[in-house]
Symmetry: C2
Subunit: 85 residues, 2 copies
Amino acid sequence: MIGDTFRALSDKTRREILMMLRDGEMTAGEIADKFATRHATVSHHLKILKDAKLVFVERKGQNIIYSLNTTVFQDIMAWLMKFND
Amino acid sequence: MIGDTFRALSDKTRREILMMLRDGEMTAGEIADKFATRHATVSHHLKILKDAKLVFVERKGQNIIYSLNTTVFQDIMAWLMKFND
DNA sequence: TAGATATTTAGATTTATATCTAAATATTAC
DNA sequence: GTAATATTTAGATATAAATCTAAATATCTA
C-alpha cells in the first residue's frame, strides 16, 4: 500500500538508512552502529522498511544484509505524477 | 521539511483530498462533505496539508477555498530521484 | 446589530509510533 | 554441545496523531 510507503519515508532515521544503502548493501549491525539509538530500535525501523518493500533482506552467515529495493520508489513516482498533470 | 510532506501523504484521507483537488479548487465544506468524519476532523487534515505546503488556502467571502500546490510534489520527486540512480 | 452559515480552534480521549530493557533465536567456532 | 556474536522479538512506557464534542471566529444578510 502506498500509505505504508509514505509512512515508512516519514521517519528521519529510516530515510537516513535508505540514503546509506545507496552506497551498497550493509549488515544490520553496520546500519545500527550509525545511530545513537539501540540496535533493537534500529531493527524495528528495518522491519518497517522491509514491510514497505523499500529494502531487500537476506541472511549471510551470522549477518543479515540489507539492500535497496528501488522498484517501490517508482511506484511513488507514478503516484506523484498524477499531480504534475 | 520533506519528512512533513511524507507524513502528510501517509494518511489516506489527506491523499483523497489531494486527489479531489486535481479536478479544481473546493471549499472546506465541500471537501468535508465527502467524508464520514466530522468537519472539525477534516479541518485538522486540511491544516496539515496547508502546513506541508501541499495546498493553497484563500478566503472567498464566507468560504475558505483550497487548491493544489504542485511545487512540493516536485521536491519529493527530486528526493526520490536520488534512488533511481 | 442580531441571526444564520462556514470554518477553525481548544480540550479530551483513543489509537498508533518510537524507544528502551530483557529475553529469544540463529549462526559460528571451539 | 557450549560459548560468543549478530540480530530480532516481546513487553513496557512515553510521545505523537486522529478523532470527537463544544466553543470561538469570521462573514453575510436581513
